[in-house]
Point group: C2
């Protein structure tokens, strides 16, 4: 498992001449780190008098950010597996007609997985962004830069995941699947930008 490697080892393997892990796994990791920063800001705000009236909301946010972090860390590995299954499909035998059909089907199945995987990452990154937005003005202001970094990492994860959707879409022949996915990516990007801009405005206004 990639997430069992040390940060240093993961960095080395990422930079190697193997195409996996690649951008999809990095997008998932970026989202997980964003979720962790949200958790930290919650932890630094729980039990503080200034935020007494928001304790229930903060505790709920913490629970959700911890769940999202775990899920996104799993996706670091899942995205690399999705990529590898496309590669494996391409290596299948194609001597007989039946083999050709099986191979073509496996390739299509693989590409759909290689689209659905980053789509799931993008969706969860948007959830993380929304959690960060929920804490604005309701959490420890000493950690405002951490909330800012959380939103950047979550949005970078979202956009990065969408790029991984977009690079695989042209290989998919199922028109309905393509149309549905394209519509979902537009909505995710639009909503993500809105939430992120809102957080940025708050953070940069505070910094002056």
């Amino acid at each position: 498992m990639l997430v069992k490697l040390s940060v240093e080892e993961f960095s080395q393997i990422l930079g190697s001449n193997s195409p996996a892990p690649g951008g999809g796994s990095v997008a998932a990791l970026s989202g997980a780190l964003a979720a962790d920063l949200v958790s930290m800001v919650c932890n630094l705000s729980i039990g503080k008098k200034d935020f007494e009236s928001f304790q229930t909301e903060i505790s709920k946010t913490l629970q959700e950010s911890q769940t999202l972090s775990k899920s996104l860390l799993k996706r670091v590995d899942l995205d690399t597996e999705a990529f590898n299954s496309v590669m494996a499909a391409f290596k299948m035998a194609k001597d007989t007609e039946q083999e050709k059909t099986s191979r073509a089907e496996a390739i299509q199945k693989g590409f759909k997985e290689a689209v659905l995987s980053p789509l799931g990452i993008a969706q969860e990154c948007l959830e993380v962004l929304k959690l960060a937005g929920r804490l604005l003005g309701k959490s420890n202001s000493n950690a405002l830069s951490d909330l800012g970094v959380a939103s950047q990492q979550a949005f970078a994860g979202l956009e990065g995941a969408i790029m991984n959707v977009k690079i695989n879409i042209p290989s998919i022949k199922d028109g309905d699947f393509v149309a549905e996915t394209s519509s979902k990516t537009s909505t995710l990007l639009e909503e993500g930008r809105r939430v992120k801009d809102n957080i940025y405005e708050f953070v940069f206004e505070h910094f002056g």
Copy 2:
């Protein structure tokens, strides 16, 4: 050392109730991962016939991205150390006049370090962004999404580091230092945006 922890352990410590590691270390890690993706794209383009005429440039880029990755990984730990030294200064004795002076000096020294550390992260993230820009149209197009994710992570690292500069600046009393730093952060952000927008335009135009 933080980078010797597994990715999973780093994620857990980040989300804990300790303010360090925080956003500054995440910004540095984001830059390192971006540099690794640049290295990967170089490695996937070296020895490929389509990019024969760019081999010298690609090899040079690879060398630079590997150096930047190592430096940014070191900064993951250095940024947390900088933060901890501010915290340590605040805990110094302040009973006598001399102790008060020593403590105030240590706090100012600590805050300057807590500004210079993310400033260095931002500068190196900009370098990574420039390397990604250099590869546009000169590298394996199968890895175009990876180049896109590299630019997102590098820019998120840059912006995240700047937020960490901005949150510490108000604590610094040295006016010249503040003026010089503010001017540097503006230039870094401006240049970073320009390079990133350029990469995005190329990548999204390609995806259609």
